[in-house]
């Protein structure tokens, strides 16, 4: 072809014109902290495992969970999913059902017998873990992954701690619990059951442990003095739940049961009472319903099962087979104030669920350096007690007492213990700024309400300890995972690649994300505006 001078041009020759020089601002790809991740006490990278799950890549999703939490099947059931409380999607429609997907993945792992590989060579160090609750299991798991030999000392006949002896089966089937504990055991963790530790230092020396992680929980029920004529039985909830689990002489609680307290244990006790055959179960709570520390969805389920809520009431005494309660009113400052009006509640049993205390007389009480304050063992930011070889976590230390927090403690302590054993410094990664809802461009996410887990037929729920919440179907799990907005983290939606008027975003290929071609980027900022998940920042150029 004879190309006439200047009038006819070779295609794509404008590549010689580097329009990047026009730019006064530049887009930068970033990874911000999704609010779910920051809200997870176990430190799960939720956004990341949902990313894998939404592709149907369940094994990888599970592995991602397992980086932080060894108990997804348990956690998917028994964790109170604070992550969902922070989920940005709630502002768009409803939160992502993170726990349900986690549980789906956890169960899938159990069904498929997925294992975690230990890639770190053995360190030759020995760690003693006291207590096989979530904190202890978590620490043992992470330390094992880090190459250390772990032995768990457990006073009870079975491992699991409060997960086994505090959480009723209808919320956490034992098959699941056993499977996840079993998986940890198969990694090489030694379990010494029925082995209460009295003298930590002695055992350490005797068995050659380099370091200890204590997570013995808070197991003593908090008690109050209630005047009683002994006309009815008074139990504490934690003992009742334990007894149910041990299947030793199931308590005869009668037909009418009053539970005193508003926490999760109270609700568990109430729902267990229903399952033990009680006909009239009520929860008495001092403040208003919305103030109950128990999770609202559990309260809702309890009510559905027939449990009555008697809020703004205080138990004053037990008399003539009745629990006498005084009604309260809320003051202007929203505090309960006694009215002097009394009410009789006929009862066969009164169950106290007023919280638990750390056993002041536990194995840590007299260890040199270990400080105990207001019933809690004091630890520093590295979960270390005053004794450099002794770390502690879970309900034992001052914290919100949930199994997830305990799992988090276990992981965190493991990191520091590992550093200590290897004589290194462990510095946690600096946390990226939070990906707030305002950073998102939610136009791109269509409305998709949270999948509702199949709910067991009410009748079945009331007649036994069968699990209440069913599992998600795979399709639903996938659906749910795909509702994740991927806050603050690129999910390869190609928006930046597509929205750039200057073709200045290079697509690097599946899983490799994108790069800005600063030779041509004019800095218009469209990529950042159109990024649905807020993973592009615009920063000023230094001119």
């Amino acid at each position: 072809m004879i190309k006439p001078f200047a009038i006819t041009l070779d295609t794509g020759s404008s590549l010689a014109n580097l329009t990047g020089s026009w730019r006064s601002k530049r887009p930068v790809f970033v990874d911000h902290m999704p609010p779910c991740n920051i809200a997870c006490p176990a430190g799960e990278n939720i956004q990341q495992w949902l990313y894998h799950a939404e592709e149907g890549n369940y094994h990888q999703a599970w592995q991602e969970i397992m980086k932080n939490n060894p108990l997804p099947a348990i956690m998917g059931r028994a964790c109170y999913h604070t992550c969902e409380g922070e989920c940005n999607r709630a502002k768009l429609d409803e939160t992502v059902g993170i726990h349900a997907v986690e549980r789906f993945l956890g169960d899938l792992a159990i069904d498929n017998n997925w294992r975690v590989k230990i890639t770190v060579p053995r360190s030759g160090k020995k760690v003693m873990v006291i207590g096989s609750g979530p904190g202890g299991l978590s620490a043992a798991y992470h330390l094992t992954l880090l190459g250390h030999a772990v032995t768990i000392f457990e006073a009870s006949p079975k491992a699991g701690g409060l997960m086994r002896y505090g959480i009723p089966r209808y919320r956490l089937p034992r098959k699941v619990l056993n499977a996840e504990i079993d998986r940890i055991e198969r990694m090489g963790v030694e379990f010494k059951l029925n082995t209460p530790v009295r003298d930590i230092v002695g055992v350490m020396e005797e068995d050659g442990f380099d370091v200890v992680f204590a997570a013995i929980g808070a197991q003593l029920p908090r008690k109050i003095d209630i005047p009683t004529d002994n006309s009815i039985q008074i139990y504490d909830a934690i003992s009742m739940l334990r007894k149910i689990e041990m299947e030793e002489e199931l308590p005869n609680i009668g037909e009418k049961v009053v539970i005193y307290g508003g926490g999760n244990v109270a609700v568990d006790a109430a729902r267990s009472a229903v399952r033990l055959g009680a006909k009239e179960v009520s929860i008495v709570y001092r403040r208003s319903q919305d103030k109950m520390p128990a999770h609202q969805f559990e309260i809702k389920e309890a009510v559905e099962e027939g449990v009555k809520l008697r809020c703004l009431r205080v138990v004053r005494k037990v008399e003539n087979s009745s629990v006498i309660v005084e009604q309260m009113v809320l003051t202007d400052t929203n505090k309960p104030f006694p009215t002097g009006e009394m009410e009789d509640i006929k009862a066969d049993t009164l169950i106290l669920a007023l919280g638990q205390l750390v056993d002041a007389d536990c194995c840590l009480s007299n260890v040199p350096g270990v400080g105990v304050l207001q019933g809690n063992v004091q630890v520093d930011a590295a979960m270390r007690t005053g004794n450099e070889k002794i770390f502690a976590g879970g309900d034992l230390v001052p914290c919100e007492r949930t199994i997830t927090v305990a799992v988090g403690h276990g992981k965190k302590a493991a990191k520091y213990i590992d550093a200590y054993l290897r004589q290194k410094e462990y510095t946690p990664k600096e946390k990226a700024p939070i990906a707030t809802y305002e950073k998102l461009n939610t136009w791109y996410f269509s409305d998709a309400p949270k999948t509702v887990q199949p709910i067991l037929n009410l009748i079945r729920r009331q007649s036994g300890f069968e699990e209440v919440l069913g599992n998600l179907e795979e399709g639903n799990a996938l659906f749910e995972a795909r509702r994740c907005l991927s806050c603050g983290n690129c999910f390869e939606c190609d928006n930046c690649y597509g929205a750039c008027p200057d073709n200045a975003i290079d697509k690097l290929g599946s899983g490799k994300r994108f790069a800005v071609n600063y030779d041509y980027c004019k800095g218009c900022g469209l990529c950042a505006t159109e990024c649905p998940c807020g993973a592009i920042d615009i920063v000023n150029e230094t001119i």
């Binding site: 072809m1 190309k3 006439p4 001078f5 200047a6 009038i7 006819t8 041009l9 070779d10 295609t11």
Partner: protein
């Protein structure tokens, strides 16, 4: 094959022999018979492999031709007068893009006042548009020029206008020799575009060019026409070899060898001029004529060569550069730059006014007697003009000139 047919039909048949691939048709007198003829030829299947497109304006006609040509198709259209002006933007564009479109102009005056009859105002207005302009003396030459025009256009990469006088040629039945298809095929190879729109070898055609290169682009356009100046006579010579006829080329001199007076003109009026010259020669007058075929490129040197021995030049031109005189004469003076011969402008035949032998001869005689002005108007009705000018002097709002003149003519007829 000899035929007695209308000029437009003859041209249509010839275009058909040139195997056009896209024809854009829009009616405007006096060109219309050509595209009508082509339409019939296409419909009847006499012209094959051709898209005949009825467009909505001259602007579209040439625009479609531009697209078709850039797409690699041999493209043709025809127009006249206002139509040429309406497509003016595209006229410049086609040449600027170097697209070898061939377009017939059925030369016609430009209004207002609207006038459908012949003169050269239309094609003259586009003389500097970058197109090659060839003027036909006869219908035979009009036909032959079209065949040559495709050759020239496609070789040089420049569009060509073939100008033929409206009505005088387009509507005249004359004897013509219509060539055979194989003759034309042998002379005119299939169109091999220099540049073409093709997905398998993409280019961008029609870039915006700034001050840094625009002059060079324009120079190259000029250079292209200078090259055409060489190719036009060569192609004409080759044409003569194959078809046995003298057609095209730069100029047609007639009895100029010993002429002291040479009459220069474009187009069909040269026939009448030749008759006058023959008669004047019988009276012993040394007069000859020169018909210019290639007005663009303008054959300055060839003209100088032929005209410089003469003592005087008369330019008969069917246009008026209002406020200046004659366009052709100005160009001729350029050819004779530095020489002393007077070049007399004679503006004639505007808007279809007949150019008669009688008037021409008077004009030539007067010129030879040096009784003329630099700029003269053939058969101008001075009486009417005087009346109008007097009226204008008397009353600034004397009314529309054309209407007044018509009234005057009416009055005079009554007298």
């Amino acid at each position: 094959m000899l035929k007695q047919i209308e000029g437009s039909q003859a041209v249509a048949e010839t275009i058909g022999l040139c195997r056009p691939e896209v024809i854009c048709a829009y009616p405007i007198t006096p060109q219309t018979h050509i595209v009508e003829g082509l339409g019939t030829l296409v419909r009847k299947g006499i012209i094959t492999n051709c898209e005949y497109i009825n467009v909505e304006s001259e602007f579209a006609a040439l625009s479609v031709a531009i697209g078709a040509s850039a797409g690699g198709a041999r493209s043709y259209t025809a127009t006249a007068s206002q139509g040429l002006l309406f497509m003016a933007e595209a006229v410049y564009n086609a040449s600027g893009l170097g697209l070898p479109i061939v377009m017939t102009i059925g030369n016609r005056a430009i209004g207002a006042p609207i006038n459908i009859w012949n003169d050269h105002s239309d094609s003259m207005s586009m003389r500097d548009s970058g197109w090659i302009q060839l003027y036909a003396e006869t219908n035979q030459e009009a036909m032959d020029l079209h065949i040559q025009a495709f050759r020239i256009a496609e070789e040089v990469g420049c569009p060509v206008m073939v100008c033929m006088d409206g009505f005088i040629l387009t509507h005249a039945y004359e004897r013509v020799d219509v060539p055979r298809q194989e003759q034309v095929d042998a002379f005119l190879p299939p169109y091999e575009p220099m540049q073409v729109l093709d997905p398998s070898d993409p280019v961008s055609i029609g870039a915006m060019v700034g001050p840094e290169a625009f002059s060079e682009v324009r120079y190259l356009a000029h250079y292209k026409q200078m090259r055409a100046l060489e190719r036009i006579p060569e192609i004409s010579a080759e044409f003569k070899e194959r078809f046995g006829r003298d057609s095209g080329g730069l100029v047609h001199p007639y009895k100029t060898e010993d002429a002291e007076t040479i009459v220069v003109a474009l187009g069909s009026v040269n026939g009448t001029i030749k008759d006058v010259i023959d008669e004047m020669r019988l009276d012993g007058k040394k007069i000859g004529s020169l018909s210019i075929c290639s007005f663009r490129p303008f054959p300055l040197e060839r003209l100088r060569e032929i005209l410089s021995p003469a003592k005087q030049i008369i330019v008969i031109e069917k246009n008026i550069a209002v406020g200046m005189g004659g366009i052709l004469s100005a160009n001729i003076r350029m050819a004779l730059r530095g020489l002393v011969q007077p070049v007399t402008t004679c503006i004639a035949g505007l808007g279809g006014r007949p150019i008669t032998k009688k008037s021409l001869q008077e004009m030539f005689d007067k010129t030879m007697r040096q009784e003329v002005d630099d700029i003269n108007f053939l058969d101008l009705d001075w009486e009417i003009i005087r009346r109008e000018l007097d009226r204008e002097k008397a009353d600034r709002r004397s009314g529309p000139i054309a209407e007044n003149i018509l009234k005057d003519i009416g009055k005079r007829l009554e007298e």
